[in-house]
Symmetry: C2
Subunit: 461 residues, 2 copies
């Protein structure tokens, strides 16, 4: 097997230009899923991706949904391990366009430093580039050996950036065909430029908008100042109380049931040496704001958080106005750790707010979509196999890391298909994902393809 | 003297229509001092008022200033008590015009309830109507007796609604001629519709805008949530800390040096029966937000306050955004009690804010014009004389009350001319001062003229 794998890797190296050409063709399609004006482009991207998969040997086609189409593909011989792969071919909007240094849908290779070349385009990293690392690995195996080392099914999505609302139903409808032995997801990052990573947890989240109301109208502070409550004062008290002086979240019961990382994992993480200075220095900060008894790496990845994303009330124009505002607004969001259910935390939060409300004031809540957090088993055979393959490619063992963000569909794969996803990706922290000037390192693309080629071999027996 | 006064009062009753005509002529001039497009109208109002005073017998003329003109007038025989009167003939802007039920500069009498007629116009109360109560009282005295009972000087201002910036210099330049025995100011209100009032304190105030900054840019909560501080969180903590749980202001040293009202005054005020329900019920509230050991009447008039007039930061649009804002703003204002100097309180406030700032965050302050608070002596001969005159007119003793708002020029009369102002006015709480649909009760105008006619007599000896 190792000899075959080596031939495949050489083929990948020799054919990188053609791999890039195929990626660029996909990057030229502005498949922005949140903008209905681009619905045709998303459909075009689905056709393109299905055609690409068929050219490798997959039986692949777009699957219509109430939203944008997904693409399902199968390369099956049966009687051997079966791998499900997930990626997505839709992209984030490009506004504000003025902040881009290049046209987002005209992909280009640019050497940004001696020996460092990047692919510039919207979607170059998230997730077209990442998705294509897997497809190109399959293509190389097929080209060199006439076969893939394992059975492979593809679930490629066209509305990940728009909430993945249709995907659960697609998984349910095709549950039988998609019931694989392993599930690979390529939408996460590396530890750093030279070190691969396997993600072992994803935070959940929910958003809540609250409006505090006091008097029936705005009041003049010369007439009522002192006696009449002020909606901003009430709201600020609530917001301030959310955090205890030790940086923890002060909502009673908030931490109950959290599935914490193991002491062994914590020891391993401590050795990674992510100091407050390293993390916060580049953004102009130095004092970690989270739980004082946790490493910053835990604070940003596995520990739950609460942030006020916006606040407003009263007079915000030039100069001054002697008004006592009767209304104040805040947008609050929570990142959740495995073991915390959004509905339960939402209830606790609302009770916490109500308990701080003077009895003549009122509050209204508006809830937004919630995502359940997920831990992924890290002491499993599949993590060990993939880890060894990554180590062989990168010359370093992968870091098992927590993801600070959320990937909603991870729970769908767990719940609907009973699969424990393996989260491997090659994004770097400076890839400008969701922002202007998105890029993907050529090394991420090249070694990403090589990594998947090795991982496919590692799952063949 | 009483017989003369009675004839003057009858004359006032018999000539009310002509008094109204003169008021209406002044109300038709849109003398909005904050709007430079109306500078000509303010000048025209000054000419009009000077002419009106001359027709009574005053030597009166507009006095140019770097801003809008003031009007000075003198009616002097010397060797008798000399009274200085202050009022203003400029008005507030009328925006938003759409909220007015009538054209603001077309004054009209309207019967709003059986037996209750009001004068509708911008300035009907603040301060053209109030100023004219005094001039019409002088006119009646002159018409009936051929003389005024005292010497009178007029200081009528054209930029009170624009900060009174030129007035101190006018007072200084004419200090000698204006050095009277008494100073009457007609720009305040009654206790209620049937009860007159003499104001004995004015709160000072100052405004401050603060901006809290944390990281160098907005951050993504999926990547830094937990470890990176949030400007809204820092600002909310500062705002929340400003008030102690007992409703007092928690800035150390804040209450030092306040000249509190006397126990006798407090007892008198308690008898007025302004309950939280009476004050707060009409605005939809029931729980006083100020110092728990103070009556609501103290909270809104003689006790210092702190209000956040506006707050903003982060994402305020529709839906959600997982941003950690790096900047948050608040407009904070303080009402001050006699004995508190704005500069000192501003320093205490800034130190209080800085003490709550994490060491990697910063704050900037923008200060706005401050007004020093003022107490007026209430146990004086002039208050007793004016009080007796008001009691004779209204059939009720005047309430000695604190003004929750500020009148900057009161301190100028004290400092520059050494005069203790007597604050008497006939505004009602529903006069919509500074707001659309301003009005002045016909009773306020009529009995206001009669009140001044009696007060002039009371100061004749």
């Amino acid at each position: 097997m190792q000899a075959k794998t080596d031939r495949v890797l050489s083929h990948i190296d020799a054919n990188l230009d053609q791999s890039l050409e195929r990626l660029f063709a996909l990057l030229r399609i502005p498949s922005i899923s949140t903008d209905s004006a681009h619905a045709g482009d998303v459909a075009r991207a689905a056709e393109h991706v299905a055609r690409d998969a068929r050219s490798i040997g997959f039986a692949a086609a777009p699957v219509p949904t109430p939203g944008h189409p997904a693409v399902l593909g199968h390369y099956r011989k049966n009687n051997r391990p079966h791998v499900l792969f997930y990626g997505h071919f839709d992209v984030q909007p490009v506004d504000p366009l003025a902040l881009w240094d290049f046209p987002p849908f005209e992909p280009k290779l640019v050497e940004v430093a001696p020996g460092r070349t990047v692919i510039r385009a919207r979607g170059a990293c998230d997730d077209k580039g990442q998705m294509m690392t897997f497809l190109e690995a399959c293509r190389a195996w097929k080209a060199v050996t006439g076969d893939l080392p394992v059975d492979v099914s593809l679930v490629l999505e066209g509305e990940e950036e728009n909430g993945s609302e249709s995907l659960p139903e697609v998984l349910r409808a095709h549950r039988k065909a998609l019931k694989a032995d392993h599930c690979f997801i390529c939408d996460t990052g590396q530890w750093d430029r030279d070190t691969p990573a396997i993600s072992i947890s994803l935070r959940g989240m929910f958003h809540e908008e609250i409006v505090v109301r006091t008097a029936t109208t705005d009041l003049h502070s010369g007439r009522f100042g002192g006696a009449a409550n002020n909606a901003i004062r009430v709201l600020s008290r609530i917001v301030a109380d959310l955090h205890a002086p030790d940086g923890s979240i002060a909502i009673p019961g908030f931490y109950d049931g959290i599935e914490d990382i193991s002491p062994a994992m914590r020891t391993a993480w401590r050795r990674l040496g992510l100091t407050p200075k390293k993390l916060l220095g580049p953004i102009g900060l130095s004092v970690p704001a989270g739980e004082k008894d946790r490493m910053v790496l835990e604070q940003i990845s596995t520990r739950p958080t609460c942030d006020v994303n916006g606040i407003w009330g009263g007079y915000q124009g030039e100069g001054v106005k002697t008004v006592i505002p009767n209304e104040a607004h805040a947008k609050v969001s929570f990142r959740l750790a495995a073991g915390q259910h959004p509905d339960r935390i939402r209830k606790l939060f609302r009770a916490f707010v109500r308990a701080r409300l003077p009895k003549d004031c009122s509050v209204t809540f508006t809830n937004f979509k919630a995502t359940t957090p997920a831990n992924v088993r890290w002491d499993s055979d599949q993590v060990r196999r993939a880890g060894a393959a990554l180590a062989a490619e990168w010359g370093r063992k992968p870091v098992l890391m927590g993801q600070g963000g959320s990937i909603p569909i991870v729970n769908d794969f767990k719940k609907i298909l009973g699969l424990e996803p393996l989260l491997i990706g090659f994004a770097l922290k400076d890839d400008q994902v969701h922002a202007p000037n998105e890029k993907y390192d050529l090394q991420s693309f090249h070694k990403g393809i090589r990594s998947w080629a090795r991982i496919l071999a590692a799952f063949a027996h």
